[in-house]
């Protein structure tokens, strides 16, 4: 399971701080994600997980520190330009283009690419056969689970090097949650680095190589997934173990 940590870093935070107006959110965050890894970001509500992902994409601009994608500092870059480096996201609450059809949502995921995308298209439909029957349906009318599939599909259509996922199992039925984690592994095995935010710490750590724990905007724990799973403090605070 645990992959060698010798891939090149594809995503790094170096001493990153962010603010929403006067409110200090991320505080001196250091993160390093290597090629081919699955890294999970854990933490309670409002600890700054979504803010971290948005910071990668320039939707939130760091007030100090550096964000590096593929070794290049992307501070001050526009989202559309950062995406060109091969970063894609399944955002919190899916945020599909509701007035567009499922098919259009998938196609717009490949907006930046040219040439033949049919292989990726087929791959997405193979991954989510449910979507195949719903290609002409407006995305806004999909069920929550279907929207999740379409959002993952849309992100995969960009053929990303790094995939950011913000609580992909939120709102899914328990059996789908397990499937969802299998899916993340499958995506990763196909060569995509995954940075996933999760509330479901046990499951997330069971597939991840490395984990970070945020608390009020600070990284309080950072270790291999195996060590985190064994860490008593971690077990008490996040893995639902009492005593």
């Amino acid at each position: 399971m645990s992959r060698p940590a010798d891939g090149a870093p594809v995503l790094e935070f170096r001493g990153v701080h962010t603010h929403y107006g006067p409110v200090h959110i991320l505080k001196d965050v250091d993160i390093s994600i290597r090629e081919g890894q699955i890294v999970c970001l854990l933490g309670g509500n409002a600890s700054g997980k979504t803010t971290t992902l948005k910071t990668v994409l320039g939707m939130v601009v760091p007030t100090a520190g550096d964000v590096l994608v593929g070794g290049e500092s992307v501070n001050g870059w526009r989202t559309a330009d950062i995406v060109k480096l091969g970063v894609s996201m399944v955002p919190e609450n899916r945020r599909l283009f509701k007035r567009m059809t499922v098919k259009e949502n998938l196609e717009i995921g490949a907006y930046l690419r040219s040439g033949d995308m049919s292989a990726d298209y087929d791959r997405v439909l193979e991954m989510f056969p449910r979507l195949k029957e719903r290609l002409g349906q407006r995305a806004g009318t999909l069920s929550g689970g279907e929207q999740q599939m379409a959002a993952v599909g849309r992100a995969l259509m960009a053929d990303p090097k790094v995939l950011l996922m913000d609580e992909p199992s939120m709102g899914l039925a328990p059996v789908l949650v397990a499937q969802n984690f299998e899916l993340i592994q499958q995506i990763n095995e196909a060569g995509t680095t995954v940075f996933v935010v999760e509330q479901n710490a046990n499951m997330a750590l069971s597939i991840a190589d490395y984990g970070y724990v945020l608390q009020t905007g600070r990284v309080v724990l950072a270790d291999t997934a195996a060590n985190l799973l064994a860490n008593p403090e971690m077990r008490r605070a996040y893995l639902g173990e009492s005593g």
Partner: protein, 365 residues
């Protein structure tokens, strides 16, 4: 306006007397409508009203004018779609096209090309008008609206009113306040040709055909092309659009350019229909087109086109059909009254516009 449109859904528990009042207005409106139409029909039977031929002319003229309103209305709707405010300077974008087109037409007349090759001349005027309107729209976006991006919607709205006056008086200052008449079209433009059992004047036919072609073109552009899709994505969710790699600023520029181009086409159609242009020409058609956009449901492009044609029909046929029934003299001068009354009535009966309003949740203030 957003608030009032969305209000219908929100204030479900409004006091009973408001409902009662609205129903009285609705019923009253219906009674007036039916009474007027009945009166006109009675006159017709008595052989007093306009002939059948005259009625058909009113319909055709209404559709032609409506096609023009529809083209302008698209610009209001598209900008509302991506930026969420009504660009009141859009009437002036239309005027700019018609105005600059006039100078080209006049030059072609001077070199006697207008008479030799009218079709090519009109095409040249059309291209000039499209380019001018698109350029003005894009410059206005860049200079006036982009710096206001992210501020409350009321601010660009008020700015657009300022820009509207700025453009009017800039054109007045540059070209004078007198009405400029396009050179006369060749006689055959006033001939009538029979189509679908109607005798249609060539001018009107050209206006309707060009208007319809432009609308179909725009529809295909928005639905089928990559830029069209990015316009729809930006209209729906700018942050997600950027996440797809779409350049939001460029897409907004494209929206203004395309909306401007449609207004430019309308500028040439106006010249074909009425010939006269001046710095003030954008005002009334602009307000009417805005009305058409509201009528069809703001933000909905098909609605804007249909709203334009309907408004043109209302004002073409409405005065004769409803007002003449009451024995009011000189009804054709009351077309503006009819147009705006139609707006008010539609909004009372169906506050979201005839074709519903496509608003994203965060737009429902």
């Amino acid at each position: 306006m957003t608030a009032s449109a969305a209000g219908a859904g929100r204030y479900k528990r409004r006091p009973g007397w408001v409902d009662a009042f609205l129903w009285i207005v609705r019923i009253g409106a219906l009674v007036v409508l039916v009474w007027g139409v009945a009166g006109t029909v009675v006159q017709g039977i008595a052989g007093e009203g306009p002939t059948g031929e005259a009625w058909r002319d009113l319909v055709v003229a209404g559709i032609a004018q409506g096609a023009m309103y529809g083209l302008i209305a698209l610009g209001y709707s598209m900008v509302y779609g991506v930026l969420g405010f009504i660009n009141f300077a859009h009437g002036e974008v239309f005027m700019a096209g018609g105005m600059v087109g006039f100078f080209v037409a006049n030059y072609l007349w001077d070199i006697r090309f207008w008479e030799t090759d009218f079709v090519l001349s009109v095409l040249l005027v059309l291209v000039t008008s499209i380019l001018t309107s698109a350029l003005v729209a894009v410059i206005v976006e860049r200079v006036a609206y982009r710096p206001l991006r992210g501020s409350p919607r009321l601010i660009p709205l008020i700015t657009s009113i300022g820009i509207s006056f700025f453009l009017q008086y800039t054109f007045a200052g540059l070209f004078g306040v007198a009405v400029k008449n396009y050179p006369p079209p060749p006689d055959y433009m006033r001939n009538r040709i029979g189509i679908l059992g109607l005798q249609i004047e060539v001018t009107k036919l050209v206006v309707i055909v060009v208007g319809a072609a432009a609308m179909i073109g725009l529809y295909l552009f928005v639905e089928k092309t990559r830029t069209g899709r990015s316009i729809r994505a930006v209209a729906e969710d700018k942050e997600m659009a950027a996440l797809m790699g779409i350049d939001v600023d460029r897409t907004i520029v494209a929206t203004f350019a395309v909306g401007g181009a449609m207004a430019g086409i309308a500028g040439t159609l106006w010249a074909l229909l009425f010939r006269g242009v001046s710095f003030i020409t954008g005002f009334l058609p602009g307000i009417k087109a805005f009305t058409a956009a509201v009528l069809g449901g703001v933000g909905n492009l098909t609605g804007a086109m249909a709203g334009g044609v309907l408004l043109g029909l209302f004002e073409g046929v409405g005065p004769q059909l409803v007002l003449a029934g009451f024995g009011i003299p000189g009804v054709s001068q009351l077309k503006d009254v009819v147009a705006f009354t139609a707006l008010v009535l539609v909004l009372i009966f169906k506050p979201t516009g005839l074709f519903g309003e496509r608003l994203s949740a965060e737009d429902r203030a």
